[in-house]
Amino acid sequence: MDSIKLHYDVSGNDFTCAGEASGKIKRELKGLGFPNDIIRNVAIAVYEGEINMVIHAGGGVIDVEITPECISLDLIDEGPGIPDISLAMKEGFSTAPENVRQLGFGAGMGLPNIKKYTDEMVIDSEVGVGTTIHLKVFVK
């Protein structure tokens, strides 16, 4: 069985657009008839990823590959990169600027939430080059 591939652009510095890709992916997964909890997990992970791209990286792209068994996501940006990934994974650790925090974002829960709602999470990041987060959600 081959797969369905989807591609989304996330525009940077615009909070009003954050959540668009997550909403669209959710609609596709509903159309494909995946269980509600799987859809919710993917939607939350993508949403957090989108917010991160907007806050830190000036946007990015999301590539999705769907098979009946697994939903794979690559969240790719060309932002500043993450110097210390294990620190970034700590709940509450945030490098979001003050103006972003005032909007209610940047609470330091983004990456931990992505981990919580996915089955596999691998972060490739190079300072000054960008970050790619590989995610997998398995359909049990």
Binding site: M1, I4, K30, G31, L32, G33, F34, N36, R40, V139
Partner: protein, 441 residues
């Protein structure tokens, strides 16, 4: 009871087959076929958006007429608080309540009075802290059906309490049986409704076996008649009718009213079907997990914005604010401890057959989605509606489900023709939006 009963209907003679309603429908439940709008019954949520937008008044809400109430020995009217907001220059709702019996009713029971009991029951239930957060109000039947069709995973967040109109009907019948000695079936209970969704909820109830309401008339049906009666002044006074609802009960007619009645600041209220959908998306994404209670009204402004009301919702809201100015906060309270069972829904609201799914198996759905994506590559993406579907995507979905054909897209068909023809008139076969502009600067 027909599981697909809908109050929203089409008058075929008036329908011109234009694209206004298909574009406005929040669940994309309308297609134009044979020059007429066709409502897909599995998807319709009776929100009334199509009634509002149809320039030919071809969409209407099926409801009872006042002449139908005579089949009952004893007739009770249940005015929605939105009715009060239709009238100007009133200090309280008493004159309205005194005029309603002259339409042929033996008694009047205010839905606003029952709403105050529902507010109290909600406060008690929220205090128990056992509900899944955020709790979503279940008072707006269009919202409940929207959740059922498009957001089935949020059904478990719905407040498991009956809407005020059901409690009003139950209490009104109980009082009437005691007072008159009549049997339940001899008493007719009629709602004076601001919207078709409520009417549907009586014929095809969710979360209860049988509705307590026997029928419904529209606010806009009786408003002109009531106005005439009231203009004749004290002539018809019925001495024992006094308003029996306060600020909390009346406020249920406007967006934010239900929330204000549960006395919890950690809540939010949204109105208008599109705003409701956006909030439901946010709940699904988990961004509103820390909110306790969410009130959603499908109509703009709340029930005063219902498509069976007469007055502009913003004018109605301002009138309601004046009307409740000197009212007590609440005039009704639950006389016993705890939450009596009749306030609670008999059963959880079950999801309907998954209408969002493209096919029963994921692999078949994937095949169909691939085909859809191919079609979307070649469709013009104008969402013009000429094919009878609201968007190119909806047409693609209809095609893979076998309900439509690729050539239903006139642009696609013209493009195909243009490729076949080798004539000099090639330019004219290219659809106008894709032709070079020669006529205008």
């Amino acid at each position: 009871m027909d599981a697909f009963f809908h109050s929203v209907r089409l008058d075929k003679d008036k329908c011109k087959g234009c694209t206004n309603c298909i574009k406005r429908c929040p669940t994309q439940a309308i297609r134009v076929r044979s020059g007429k709008a066709h409502i897909i019954k599995e998807l319709c949520i009776d929100c009334g958006e199509c009634i509002r937008v149809c320039p030919h008044h071809a969409k209407y809400a099926s409801r009872d007429s006042l002449s139908q109430i005579v089949q009952y020995k004893y007739r009770i009217a249940l005015p929605a608080p939105a009715l009060y907001a239709q009238f100007n220059n009133l200090e309280d709702a008493t004159p309205i309540l005194r005029a309603i019996p002259l339409l042929g009713f033996d008694a009047v029971f205010e839905v606003a009075a029952a709403a105050e009991l529902i507010s109290e029951a909600t406060r008690r239930l929220m205090k128990e802290n056992k509900l899944k957060k955020p709790v979503i109000s279940s008072a707006c039947p269009a919202v409940v059906r929207l959740i059922r069709v498009c957001f089935p995973d949020l059904l478990e967040n719905l407040l498991p309490i009956n809407p005020p109109v059901e409690e009003a009907a139950r209490l009104a019948r109980e009082y009437a049986m005691k007072e008159t000695g009549l049997r339940a079936s001899e008493i007719g209970v009629f709602f004076i409704s601001p919207c078709p969704a409520k009417i549907t909820s009586f014929k095809n109830p969710l979360g209860m076996q049988k509705s307590n309401v026997d029928g419904a008339v529209g606010i806009n049906d009786i408003y002109p008649v009531l106005l005439k009666i009231m203009e004749k002044g004290d002539k018809y006074d019925i001495p024992d009718a006094e308003q029996n609802s306060g600020i909390i009960g009346m406020s249920w007619a406007t967006s934010g009213g239900e929330v204000s009645g549960i006395l919890n600041e950690n809540s939010l209220a949204a109105d208008g079907i599109e705003n409701c959908m956006n909030i439901l998306e946010e709940i699904e994404t988990g961004t509103l997990d820390s909110v306790d209670f969410i009130e959603l009204n499908a109509c703009q402004g709340g029930c005063v914005g219902g498509c069976l009301t007469s007055e502009n919702p913003y004018i109605a809201k301002s009138r309601l604010i004046k009307l409740r100015k000197y009212a007590p906060v609440s005039r009704n309270n639950i006389k016993v401890e705890g939450i009596p069972a009749h306030f609670l829904k008999e059963s959880p609201i079950e999801p309907c057959d998954d209408v969002m799914k493209l096919a029963d198996s994921v692999s078949e759905a994937m095949t169909r989605m691939k085909r859809m994506n191919e079609l979307l590559e070649v469709f013009p993406g104008l969402d013009c509606g000429t094919c009878g579907a609201p968007t190119c995507r909806a047409l693609a979905e209809d095609i893979v489900r076998g309900f439509a054909h690729e050539d239903d897209c006139v642009f696609r068909m013209k493009q195909n023709l243009a490729q076949l023809e080798n004539s000099d008139d090639f330019e004219s076969l290219i659809p106008a939006p894709f032709r070079e502009n020669t006529e205008q600067n």
